[in-house]
């Protein structure tokens, strides 16, 4: 090889390398960083929320609208940070990316309870952590948390008429016995049939409040009264504008893993949550570094994937996912006939919706559970399903017509569908409407505002069809998506096979491996019955600036603990300053 040839080859190789690196610089690859730097204290993390929190007390409104509590108050259990990515130092059994549905017992860590004992299916004993202090505000003035506070808070959840547990699980709430034999021990006794409800909703779900403060204020729904034991203290709430928190200097937890192991948490001086209802405004704020972290759908993500300086993850979330319910209980309803339900599946081109509308970024199988590595044992990939089930996810309008004819609807029928009047609901439904019209089914869409919509779905008040939420993975063993009278059994399913399987799973719990096995074997049957129409689910993206350290895209460590990862992360303020000045 002559020198000239060598130089030419070198140039060509350089060009190819440049092209490859520039394509990778688009940020398409997800970034997992192993943190090596010693964490630094200080800085404010800025995030965004689409709406104001309507409440600040989870005994007044459900947990999912009291997001600030996960920073200011704590539960008995939480998710185990060390079993996640934890800045590249965790065991990676979980990723904690989802909005909070992960609820495996094996992934729990103690929060206010340092340890616990589960005795059979009736008794759980929590041994409280000593030295945990309430925020230094009147009337608690930084006193120590005791079992009395815990008993009071849990009992309030069982008795307050507005409390989620009392409203949703009234029988379990009535029969629950909560006592405190000493200042650091809490004993919870339940009946075996409610064990699943209690263990999923008591320890890692209900926030603990100071007894004296609740007694003084009546409830804790005024943000100014916020008192907890959490890593941050709520200091400001301007409706429609901002929620501010500052660091709790007396927080009990030390960093359990990584270069900062043993450090007092949290690292941040505070957190600001900006209320930004408009997506494009939030995008602009993130693009200009005004926000540190942003979660968005695949479509909004495209603009950020072209910014190589950002870090990101792509993930699936069942939080907020919806499916189309049908009235299978009414004898005169066409949906009572399995052939009609299957015909609807076959008339919907799910693959096309996935490819065209979601840009191919999603999955076809999402109901009753979608794939999470933490629950892989309970899931069966679509490719491994029986052929009859796989066929339902394909587009066969001719077979759909044939099934409709066999069911006595050769010319189709008219049906109304109720949904939430937002794009995420309306867009897919318009596609479904068009596809079903080709087999003679005339769908009339009835969009509702959020208040009306939630009121209808809670009561399952609809005539034909309803496009609404289903329960996430954390409750899969209770089978509430397809058994019982709850809102998530939107299709009014009452199938002896499914009811029996539910009983078996509840009996097997908390042996999660045994429950997984029952569910896995049941899954093909559930899908073959076509009790709901489940359209594809798309991936979500989470982006963050590289100055956010010890962060790998977590959203909730534990069961619906949104934002609680913030106590582990830190801000490289010098890097932030240098990047923002460019």
């Amino acid at each position: 090889m002559t020198r000239r040839t060598f130089v030419v080859c070198l140039l060509i190789l350089g060009l190819i390398a440049g092209l490859v690196s520039s394509s990778c610089a688009g940020g398409v690859k997800e970034t997992v960083t192993v943190e090596k730097e010693k964490p630094v204290y200080g800085g404010i993390l800025t995030t965004a929320a689409a709406a104001d929190p309507p409440a600040f007390d989870d005994a007044v409104q459900p947990h999912y609208v009291t997001g600030t509590l996960k920073l200011t108050n704590e539960e008995l259990w939480t998710g185990d940070w060390t079993k996640g990515i934890a800045g590249g130092h965790g065991t990676k059994e979980c990723d904690w990316f989802t909005g909070g549905g992960l609820n495996r017992l094996e992934h729990k860590a103690g929060a206010l309870a340092e340890s616990w004992e589960i005795q059979g299916k009736e008794t759980i004993i929590f041994h409280l952590r000593k030295g945990v202090k309430w925020h230094n505000k009147p009337p608690t003035n930084g006193r120590e948390l005791t079992a009395e506070d815990v008993v009071f808070s849990l009992k309030r959840q069982c008795t307050a008429p507005t409390a989620y547990f009392k409203r949703t699980y009234p029988k379990a709430a009535e029969t629950l016995e909560i006592t405190a034999p000493d200042p650091y021990t809490v004993v919870v006794k339940t009946k075996p049939e409610y064990f699943g409800d209690v263990i999923t909703l008591i320890p890692d779900y209900m926030c603990i409040f100071p007894k004296d403060a609740v007694e003084q204020f009546g409830n804790m729904n005024d943000w100014k009264n916020s008192i907890g034991t959490g890593p941050f203290m709520l200091t400001e709430f301007v409706p429609g504008s901002v929620i501010s928190y500052v660091r709790n200097p007396a927080y009990w937890e030390k960093n359990p893993i990584g270069p900062g192991k043993g450090d007092q948490l949290p690292y941040l001086d505070g957190i600001k949550t900006l209320i930004i209802p408009d997506e494009s405004t939030a995008d602009a704020a993130f693009r200009t570094g005004q926000l540190d972290i942003l979660t968005c759908d695949w479509e909004r993500a495209q603009q950020f994937l072209r910014m190589p300086q950002l870090k990101h993850i792509r993930y699936l979330d069942d939080y907020g996912q919806a499916c189309i319910y049908m009235r299978t209980d009414k004898k005169d309803s066409p949906f009572a006939d399995k052939r009609v339900r299957q015909a609807l599946w076959l008339a919907i081109d799910n693959k096309r919706i996935l490819d065209e509308y979601y840009g191919g970024e999603g999955v076809l199988l999402k109901w009753p559970i979608m794939y999470f590595k933490e629950y892989a044992g309970a899931y069966v990939p679509l490719e491994q399903m029986p052929k009859a089930v796989q066929e339902l996810f394909e587009y066969h309008p001719d077979k759909a017509k044939q099934l409709l004819t066999e069911a006595g609807y050769p010319n189709g029928f008219k049906a109304k569908i109720i949904c939430y009047n937002q794009r995420a609901y309306m867009d897919p439904l318009q596609m479904v409407q068009d596809m079903l019209s080709k087999v003679g089914i005339q769908l009339e869409i009835e969009p509702k505002d959020y208040a009306t919509f939630t009121s209808l779905i809670v009561r399952r008040a609809y005539d034909d069809m309803l496009f609404a939420f289903y329960s996430g993975i954390g409750t899969y063993f209770k089978s509430i998506n397809y058994t019982g009278p709850g809102m998530y059994n939107g299709s009014y399913v009452d199938d002896p096979v499914l009811n029996r399987a539910r009983d078996q799973m509840l009996a097997a719990y908390p042996d999660e491996a045994a429950v997984d096995k029952i569910h896995r074997e049941l899954l093909p049957y559930i899908l073959e019955q076509a009790y709901v129409l489940a359209l594809p689910a798309s991936y979500n993206y989470r982006f963050w600036w590289p100055w956010v350290k010890n962060y790998s895209g977590e959203a909730s460590v534990g069961y619906y603990n949104v934002l609680n990862y913030t106590k582990y992360i830190w801000i490289d303020q010098e890097l932030k300053k240098s990047m923002q000045s460019k």
Binding site: E279, S280, E299, Q302, Q303, R352, E356, Y357, N421, Q422, R423, M426, D427, L429, Q430, M431, Q433, D434, M435, S437, I445, E446, P447, K448, D449, T452
Partner: protein
Amino acid sequence: MAQVELAPTFREERARSFWADLLIRLVREKPLGTVGGAIVLLLLLVGLLANVLAPFGYNETYVGPRLAIPSPDHLLGCDQLGRDLLSRIIYGARVSTIVGLSVAGISVLLSTFIGIICGYIGGKLDIIAQRFVDAWMCIPGLFLILTIMAVTGPGMVPVIVVLGIAFGIGQSRIVRGAVMGIKANTYLEAARAVGCSTGRILWKHVLPNVTAPIIVLFTITVGGAILTEATISFLGLGLPPPTPSWGGMLSEAGRRYMLMAPHLAVWPGLFLAIVVYGINMLGDAMRDLLDPRLRGGLGRYDVAKKKLPK
């Protein structure tokens, strides 16, 4: 001699019907109004013939690529569900026509009814009714409409009824004023003197004399109704998807895809602006042509004066 020449000219003009006369004067004296009239006519035709003119159904998904830019196959491009935008704009014209005309019809009927009764009868009935109208007009229009729409729920009929009532109550003031203006005229006294019933007087003598402001109200309301429907559809309380309302199209896809596919916002916005502009121009011209108080070089008297020998 001058009188002999002028008389036949006036006779000729008055021999034409009211509508033909109005049309001729519109074309002769109001070029912008004529353009507005042409736009309105075009809107009506497109609305009526939407089925024939539109190349695709308004909710036919994936007839083209998602967010496709304008091309020979899809002249205005495609939306986020691969629907042909031209077809949706054409069907949107039908929606705008139906909403505009229906709302204007309801509002004019309501405002005429309230205005004539209150203006002619007066007294306590007028005082009570007008305080209600005052209260109604104190509430910001959009807030009031959105509140009622939140209760009634979205849909074509609720939109038409709510807008019709909202416009009608406010506009009754104008009709009432016109009625009060003619109330003291001697021909009404004469009608009362010969024993005409109130109903007959209202129908035969009052209504024909306030027709001009009512026609103007009608044209102005059509534009206002289309714009308001677009606004409430933009805010998610108007016509539910997939009904192709221009305002809904702006909100549904235009706002979200503004950067990625600006044509989704540009086309419905442009057609909305053109149509409302056209209707407003026509309304302005109608007002000028029909209101005798607006003669200032624009009305019939002025035209006639120009014809007078110097």
